[in-house]
């Protein structure tokens, strides 16, 4: 159905310039004359898209000069003094800072290949791009200052003068996310071959995911639709509809407004929105007690344990550093029984690397202080320190569950800690269960007395991203709490209070009734308790 706009790893199909406004302006002109198949505004309108004219802002030399000063101060570090995206640390960022000289912008309301509107750039500068190092400038700069920056940014590319976008999609007509709309959206997801890149469940792990590159020939990965907090252009249904309608210039993400009508894309937006979930960032992983801990990652018994999402950062504290970790969060659950503790670790990994493909194997480590420490004290969060060792449980796609004792990242030795593991991989996601006895069998092994706050941290390696050794994603210390069952003595006080209060009420009411009865027989005056006689 949808034409495969994405390119596989290959040199750019066109010349030095991307298909920016200049080429596209020509194409549209030629297309309008010769090729009735190419869409114009009236074709979009016929398919139910609301199209309107753009309203370009007039900007003055003074405004651009003010914008230039702000740009040099705030933006040039990443985007370069010349706007070419070659700032001081451009090579350490992924995605790289935008090159403004080429006029290729990802997030727009204009037709694919065209320049964005002034308002589009204003919005991105204001709100930033989630999942990248582009921050939201709203609150730091005033609206007036952002407009000044926008006018200066546009001056990097002559296309804004020569081929400004004249039409834009108005993003009106949203459809309610009814079950019918979601079912229809799922159909469109299948027929438009979204799964080819984004995967059957939306984790960005489709069959083509390994081969995608952007306009600049840098490797690029399909968005993980299940993590809406990482979507560059925002994750509301309106944002998704805009991305589906106009595509993402410079990337393999095409515009679907040529092949589909507005209703289809609203349904698809609703469906994609339904694939995502809200993250639950937490400080404490609470593990309830059950009869017997599950050994399988897909056991429904895990539903009894609340899930906590953990943020990860690149290990940029010791050399060799990792500035762009591919796993940026993981989800954790914990359960325990009389004998054992079990942890369920879930993280997105688009490609399975088991060590047999010239890449390092995918791995995850769970870290605990190896010795009981004074409350509030912990080993150094990067695998411990000289005095305070860390008991680390590792699961590797190559060799399964292992245990190590470490005194820092440079001093790691295998340990006898009897950790068992079981994993599943599917749809771009690892699910790993790690189990061990609650009590330590040997020296320098962590213990889990229920009710204790045990420090816990994680390290994750993605083999596809060549992560190995110190190059890994790391977390800080969190707490793991195995929740003891409530003792029956806890209930004594509340029950005692209920009995006393109820008894007091009964006695008081009885005395009152006796009093009322005596008053009635003595024929007392009614005005003392006026309403009761009514």
């Amino acid at each position: 159905m949808a034409s495969p706009f994405f390119r596989l790893r290959s040199p750019p199909a066109h010349g030095a310039r991307p298909p920016s406004a200049c080429c596209l302006g020509l194409l549209v002109l030629v297309g309008a004359l010769l090729l009735p198949g190419l869409a114009g505004a009236q074709d979009y309108a016929a398919k139910g898209f609301k199209i309107g004219p753009t309203s370009p802002r007039e900007s003055s030399d003074e405004e651009r000069a003010a914008g230039k000063a702000l740009y040099q101060d705030r933006c040039s570090q990443c985007h370069g003094e010349e706007g070419d995206g070659r700032g001081l640390m451009a090579d350490l960022l992924d995605p790289r800072p935008r090159d403004f000289t080429r006029g290729v912008y990802k997030i727009r309301r204009t037709i694919q290949g065209e320049l964005p509107t002034d308002e589009d750039i204003f919005q991105i500068v204001s709100k930033g791009m989630p999942g990248t190092s582009m921050p939201a400038w709203q609150g730091v700069l005033t609206d007036e200052q952002i407009w000044q920056v926008v006018s200066y940014i546009e001056s990097f590319s002559p296309d804004f003068e020569d081929y400004p976008a004249e039409e834009q999609f108005l993003l009106e007509g949203r459809i309610e996310a009814t079950p019918e709309s979601l079912a229809r959206g799922a159909e469109v997801y299948e027929k438009a071959e979204c799964a080819k890149c984004h995967g059957a469940t939306g984790r960005g792990d489709g069959p083509s995911a390994a081969e995608l590159v952007d306009e600049w020939d840098f490797r690029i990965f399909p968005a993980d639709l299940t993590q809406p907090w990482t979507l560059r252009g925002g994750a509301s249904v309106d944002d998704l509809f805009r991305t589906l309608t106009t595509g993402v210039n410079g990337t393999p993400m095409p515009s679907f407004s040529d092949a589909w009508n507005a209703e289809d894309l609203w349904n698809l937006s609703n469906y994609v929105h339904s694939l995502g979930r809200e993250p639950v960032w937490g400080e404490i992983i609470r593990g309830p007690k059950i009869a017997a801990v599950p050994t399988d990652p897909d056991d429904p018994a895990w539903d009894a344990a609340p899930q906590v999402d953990i943020r990860l950062a690149g290990q940029i504290i010791q050399e060799p550093r990792l500035f762009n970790p591919s796993v940026q969060s993981l989800a954790v659950r914990a359960l325990f029984d009389d004998d054992e503790i079990a942890l369920l670790l879930i993280w997105r990994d688009r490609f399975e690397n088991d060590g047999q493909d010239d890449m390092p194997a995918d791995r995850i480590s769970v870290l605990f202080p190896a010795r009981k420490m004074k409350a509030g004290k912990k080993p150094y969060f990067l695998m411990g320190d000289r005095r305070n060792p860390v008991d680390s449980w590792q699961w590797s796609a190559e060799s399964g569950a292992l245990a190590f004792l470490s005194h820092g990242m440079d001093d790691v030795t295998p340990s006898a800690s009897p950790v068992q593991g079981k994993s599943t991989y599917g749809d771009g996601q690892y699910r790993v269960v790690l189990r061990r006895r609650l009590r330590a069998d040997g020296e320098d092994e962590v213990e889990f007395p229920p009710g204790d706050m045990v420090p816990i941290a994680w390290n994750v390696w993605d083999g596809e991203n060549a992560e190995d050794g110190k190059q890994r994603a790391v977390s800080r210390w969190y707490y793991l709490l195995l929740e003891p069952e409530t003792s029956w003595t806890t209930w004594l006080w509340p029950v005692f209070v209920v009995i006393i209060a109820g008894g007091g009420e009964a006695i008081g009411l009885r005395r009152l009734r006796q009093y009322w009865a005596s008053q009635a027989t003595e024929g007392s005056t009614p005005q003392e308790i006026p309403d009761s006689q009514a």
Partner: protein, 245 residues
Amino acid sequence: MRRLTLPLSILIWVAVWAALRLGVQPPIPGSVMNLYLSILTISIAVFLVADQDRFDAFLAPLVSLLREPGLAIPRIGVLVAIPLLLGWFTYSGVRPQFDPPFEARTIHPEPPASFKLHGKAFDVLKGRRPAGMEVNEANLAAGKAVYYRNCMYCHGDDLDGKGHFANAFNPLPANFRDGGTISQLEETYVYWRVATGGPGLPQGATPWNSSMPVWQDFLSDEEIWQVVAYIYDASGSTPRVSEEH
């Protein structure tokens, strides 16, 4: 009006409580709030009992609730609800609670008199910017490059502590634009903090949590002086200067 004595009393109590609770900034401390509410309750009670008719009117709805044959269902409801509510309050007071241990953290710990940097001792109290490391355009430009290739991932490209890795760490990276951070400190102190990082912190500052790298492992003495100059300049702060006596 007399028939509304009870509801009005309750309404006045709730209105004063809401005004104190929501209308006063900063919030009133709990013990003071309890004091105010006690005075309020006593005032209303004194007003009610000062006049027999008024007190009877206040009690009338309560008496009828307990006495009227037609109000049996609300009566039973209230009589059952009160002990259960008290029981629930008791339960929330005595049930086991699990809170993470309190971590007392000194934000700006006392620096050591001197520390080793690349093998040489540096005096934090008497040390000075070395010759050639003056705050000038060349050193600021060099410091900017050091900052953006090393620091911005956590401390943010606006120096506000909101870099894209910031949320993964605790304590959060320092916000240099905040008046409580580098502008409270002497330059040599910041130089010490950058050079020795989290592992160089004394015990009270929870060095096991800090993700600040030991920058002398990556940067030369000159680069550290340059980046210290840059973060003061770019965040619009000035280092604290100890007075000569």
